[in-house]
């Protein structure tokens, strides 16, 4: 619980982030990628980077979007343009830690681990890392990502990173 906030508010924030991330990874793991952009606000930011880049204060990402439109373009390209073998993910999330909140935006971190399952049956641990989230709660209590930074623990990606994390 954060100092200065009530227990109920703290729990509410924790649950909001946890529920948003649970629905977010479910959409990805169930191949409902068309729903993926809607977890973000219109000008939401999405970045996949590595702990190595973050440690050196370098801004580069592997995927980088600054709007829901860019996320939709990513999905469209995956569906219609890019070539990759059939595969799926299984995300396992750690409990979110709420770092703070400011003006209706909650900052939180959650650890994750993703297994990748290929159509061949090959199953590997594909990625581990941390979601660094800024979550916007609107007046109606609905939660969306204003920003989601995916910090990968490893700098290496096996073969390719097609489906978002």
């Amino acid at each position: 619980m954060l100092a200065g906030s009530s227990l109920s508010q703290s729990l509410e924030h924790q649950l909001a982030v946890q529920d948003l991330n649970a629905r977010y990874v479910e959409a990805i793991d169930d191949d409902k990628l068309e729903a993926w952009p809607d977890f973000f606000v219109d000008d939401g930011r999405y970045l996949i980077t590595t702990a190595e880049n973050v440690a050196q204060n370098l801004p580069l990402g592997m995927m980088y979007a600054t709007s829901r439109k860019m996320l939709r373009d990513r999905v469209r390209a995956l569906r219609e343009a890019n070539v990759y073998e059939t595969q799926r993910y299984r995300h396992i999330l750690g409990a979110p830690r709420v770092i703070g909140s400011d003006g209706g935006v909650i900052r939180a971190r959650s650890g994750f681990i993703v297994a990748r399952i290929m159509h061949t049956g090959e199953m590997t641990i594909f990625a581990t890392g941390s979601y660094e989230d800024r979550v916007l709660l609107d007046a109606g209590g609905a939660a969306r990502f204003a920003e989601k930074t995916v910090v990968l623990d490893s700098r290496a990606v096996d073969t390719l990173l097609a489906i978002p994390l």
């Binding site: 592997m62 373009d73 073969t159 390719l160 097609a162």
Partner: protein, 410 residues
Amino acid sequence: MNIHTALRQWPAEGLTRVPYWVYSDRDLYEDEMARVFRGNTWHFLCLEAELPKPNTFRTSHVGDMPVVVTRDANGNIHAFENRCAHRGSLLCLKERGEAREIVCCYHNWTYNLEGTLTGIAFRRGIAGKGGMQPDAKPESHAPRKLKVEVFAGLVFGTLGKETPPFESYLGVEVAQRIRRVMRAPVRVLGGYSQMLPSNWKLYMENVKDSYHASLLHMFFTTFRLNRLSQKGGLVVSETGANHISYSMSADIAGKEYEQAGMRSAHDEYRLEAPELLQSVDEFGDGIGLQILTVFPGFVLQQVRNSLAVRRIVPMGLEKTELVWTLFGFETDDEAMTELRLRQANLVGPAGFISMEDGAATGFVQRGVRGAPDEQSVVEMGGSGTSSEESRVSEAAVRGFWKSYRQQMGF
């Protein structure tokens, strides 16, 4: 060369055939490390900008051999094997850092930043007991030093005694095209690695294959970033070792792909956020795409304003690490940096136009598993390795094999 490899015969057709055993022969791999990588060839080690000040180091590789690259107190750059003279342990365990000397963690043997052994713990023993004999010469086992050349902000090294000077190894045009991109002091934007499920040669062939780019990578073709019908060209250095493929970014309304019914042509496909492809002609020559390689394992990329160096690290017969470093220039303002970061979506393991390469090389590796004595057919653009206007050509791939066969003695 081991006996097994020495008995191998290249197909009589020459450069238009590649026998599939080159991707699956274990003995060949060891010979390649010795002859191609530790031989008379130049290897990209890092960007000069990755050694930002005196007394810094960066680890790298020559083939699968680990290497330390340093900038000494006087600002001079050195490279040496990352192996202690004593027991062979890695000397540097970190990717990068600051150091005035390099100390092996195992027994505290110490090296200066030129890679010269300067100290041995308890060499004279303790209280007259133990230690080395006075006539011992541990220095004679010191890690090998590389000859280093810094060219346009790129650090290259070689172990070969007869490697030609770097610029003549490149050839005039390739040298010019490197200078074209590396036009100012570099600012590193970041990096990552892509683990390719294939032999290292399949990746280098892929990069040199100007024929595949717009056919495999539909994103490329759809947005007219690169079509074979766009103006451009293919330059192969005289040795075959190095190449440049380029195309002009001017939009043309050609319909060749649509008429031919290519899967990669999709005219109705439009981006909702076209700012992804917003770019500036920063080199002032209208060239929107330039892919350049230096044999055996270096790639310099300009895809619009996305600039990167890539180097390969073979990790055994069927695994290759591809190390990407993306950069801009110190003179870039915030808007230009943002443009480069956005265009970074095009490249890397998640790149709209490059993610397929990681998979395609693996498809070949898996596809040829039962066919070591079969051969691939490399006949687009004829049988030669000369430069040409058309990129519907495999001349640069043949150039790679010309150079490879020369190094290997095939």
